[in-house]
Symmetry: D2
């Protein structure tokens, strides 16, 4: 099932589950996928920035992608294939597409500066992986230091038909969504799906600006699914109430670098991952941070039943 | 009244009020200062990053600092003196200290990379402005691209006795506060005041990690004062409840670049500023953004009476 | 005499002469200006990146510009007015234009990334200083981290009629000159003067690509004048021979950061500056470096009589 | 034969020869290796920054390394193993060491900023590849944006015994060599080999500052070998004369991005490579640039017989 510009809803960014010894935890992958499917996800993205992709070798990456696809119950699976060279990008793309991936996600290398450099990079990448592979354009300046003006995104979309989704995580980014949607309205850019990352920190208003959903890894993807659903059905205040209840924890998890440990810890507490282990190198979560997360969960439990069994 | 390492509480970052024609609005400065004093601020910082300092010429900067100091009711006033050269930094420092400033704030130029470069820069800056001027070290990597490891801050503190406050806005930054406080506990660094910026996005837990207060410009400094007070008196959950009620708006205002327009708009809505005008160049707040802020204020009014008269 | 798009020849970047105590050395300014005029310069630029502009306060900058203009024998004088804010930029521009400057030079702040950000910055700068002031666009990515694609330069030139000179110091930059000249040939960009900086490291071939001359501070501006003259008259190999004779020293002086000390030292050795002093903060030239420069001068003396009296 | 801290002489950075269709040209590898051995090289480095390593997949990289090692006549072969993740770095390291490599070269990822981040990165890298593998520390801020203060290099050298060579290409970098050698002299750092990169742009004086040789890819490695030999035997002016004769071309080839095309073109003209082809994506050399290189070669031929058969 190919990824298309009509993608909507929530594509969780899946973490890569490891056991405490650093080996890949295939059972947790299955459990996590079942959870994603049950809570209403409309797709899944693996091997992204927070999937610890750089700590995996080629064959491990393939094994993980294959397991996720096998357990996706027909949901489209997007695989992160960002790489320092096009040879590695092409090899991974071809292999995961053969295994049934719906598309790939490509982040820009952090050396790109000018508009032309950015457009050229994506042109060359698509030349390498093939025009038949649908791809997600990742726009995350905070992490990649690459700033894509709306006009640059339009150039990429217009020039490369296989660009079907924008993983929107510019920050601030609300006006960018409005600008891109106005490009579509005026007919200067074809329609693409806009799914929001950045841990969903502005998802509440991003949906109102025209985003189609979320593509991020917050530890309560079920909340994201509910917020998208409530917003879609017009229950505006209800959507905001639910979102706001999670905002203190969501903000905490969104901390660059430190966030993955929080995410894995909560997913472990929720019974989805067997372990919160990350592969080396990884910053351990301090005892103080763990207590802060527990405190945030306890406070969340007062407002959202999903957290009620997580109170210590 | 000199700034010291015992600084505590809330030092609001004051915006620079302009009239719609771009002239400086001295009446709003007075009103703003009265408000800061009344709501329990323990100091004020002017001409910072969000005080549009770069749009003011030298004599305007002096006039603003003088007016703020005259209306500060004895509170210590810190003046931002960051400049591309030490000649301008020294000139502004000397002039504002003559007018009664309590100290100055110095941000690092964004070309600094290595530990030694950072320490050397502050050594040279203090050599230029004089060792007798207490200064605030601003640690804001997100904006300045300068990363100060805890050990670098320690070197600056130990080498330069006039460093009395850290404006802490590293992100993530909770562990940094704990590390700096552990340096003090083990005796490898003298005590300094840590006041948190970054719009207060993590103020709730920063206070629990050992921060002394806030040094930021969120449009409800009265809330910041209450949170600091509640935390200090041990009313933990009450402090978090109040903070969480503001988090949706606070997060919205914290957007880099876009935030100042939000801040000035709300301060105008609150009757403190006569106008939300910024000097050119400035990004105007879109109509969509204005409605989002109004929505956030309406939702805030349900939880905090301070916002109740701001509902349209 | 206003700066125009017909500027040609050599505009030396003047260093700011200081006495050993850090005060401005007006006598050396006079001697330096007389030297520039005598050796065939067609203009002069002051208060640039290597003019230690950031170490001067506003009144000092004005005094220097005025002295240079008074002694320029009618040559156009360009003044660097780059500043962190438009208020300071406008103030200095207006003051030096009143004193008879021919135009100003504006470097981009190193925070600019996208094409639109760069164009917008120059639009706002010209809005601040006035459309009647001819300006030099400085394109120096190595120092400013701002990359201007040829198309961005074209947008600035087409949109802002007061842009008359490009200080070209992109690196590598030969193809950029060819591209800009091809824009002119095809009629998509009006003609501007291209003067080369980067210490002249590629001046030999830049002239052949279509540059109009040099705008840099190499310690033998008289050589630059001769090379430009020889190239213009078609004495290609003679131009290269002279250039190549200087290349070992020129390359040495071009080292970022370290180069200004070399430049001032040689200008002192040549009897033009009374002292090689820089204002603080400045990296001193090591004894080893001084001996290397003396060695380079001794070797140069074997090929160019200009250096013959500099052999220790 | 393991790489040691006693490495001296010239380790050319080998380009990766491709045929016009993009396939790897094994015959040219053999010819190139024979040339390196004959002209007096003391080692070879493959798969570096200019070896187009990112365009090769894992098995291709292995094949190239194996062929180079097989044809190295006993010279130590260093393999670049820089990678975005430690899994890929470890895999390539283990594989090439098994095939007989003498050591590996590791460049820092361009996200590193603080001293601690840099030291931690190398500690983790060595933890991944194993302490038994000698490694070259690559210090190239111009390309990688990572600035290693001398004290950081000392920390790495002292903490990681397998660090045996510094590929020195900081710019400016002469004082850095002197500082590192002074650390050795005072006993605060053990001795390591310093081999200079940056196309050898300062090799003349770097050798006099204490460098042990060159580790760069200039298209006349035979000249580099002669310069190192002349300097070692005390023929100072002769060494400089030879170096200066090449400086115009060497400077031209050193242009970032554009240089590899020049290098491959000249190596093709010299009969060493069958083709100047680069794998996509690559900037083609313009017709104007090709003529400039031919001109530089013609002028070089007047001073160095090595170029005499390259005159068109």
């Amino acid at each position: 099932m190919a990824l298309t510009a009509e993608a909507k809803g929530v594509f969780p960014i899946a973490p890569t589950p490891f056991l405490d010894d650093g080996s890949i935890d295939m059972s947790s992958i299955d459990r996590m996928m079942d959870f994603y499917v049950e809570c209403g996800s409309t797709g899944v993205t693996v091997l992204g920035q927070l999937g610890e992709a750089a700590k995996l070798d080629h064959s491990e990456s393939l094994d993980i992608a294959a397991r996720v696809i096998a357990r996706s119950a027909g949901l489209p699976v997007v695989v992160g294939v960002s790489a320092p060279g096009f040879a590695a990008m092409r090899a991974l793309t071809r292999d995961v597409m053969d295994k049934g991936a719906a598309g790939v996600m490509i982040a820009p290398p952090n050396t790109l500066r000018t508009d032309d450099q950015i457009v050229t990079y994506y042109r060359q990448a698509i030349d390498a992986i093939g025009e038949d592979v649908p791809f997600v354009l990742q726009d995350y300046p905070l992490t990649f230091s690459v700033q894509m003006a709306p006009g640059v995104i339009r150039r990429i979309v217009q020039e490369l038909p296989s660009c079907v989704v924008l993983k929107h995580e510019d920050w601030p980014g609300l006006e960018k969504i409005s600008t891109l949607r106005s490009f579509e309205a005026e007919g200067s850019m074809r329609h693409i799906s806009i799914l929001c990352g950045n841990n969903g920190l502005f998802l509440d208003y991003e949906l109102e600006r025209g985003a189609d959903g979320a593509n991020t890894g917050y530890c309560f993807p079920d909340m994201l699914c509910d917020v998208v659903r409530l917003a879609a059905q017009g229950s505006r205040e209800e959507a905001h109430d639910l979102f706001d209840a999670h905002l203190p924890l969501l903000r905490y998890e969104q901390q660059p670098g430190a966030g993955l440990a929080v995410r894995k810890y909560v997913l472990m507490r929720r019974g989805i991952l067997a372990s919160a282990a990350q592969r080396k190198p990884a910053a351990a979560m301090s005892e103080k941070a763990r207590k802060e997360v527990d405190h945030l969960l306890a406070r969340l439990a007062l407002k959202d039943h999903r957290a009620s069994n997580l109170v210590n």
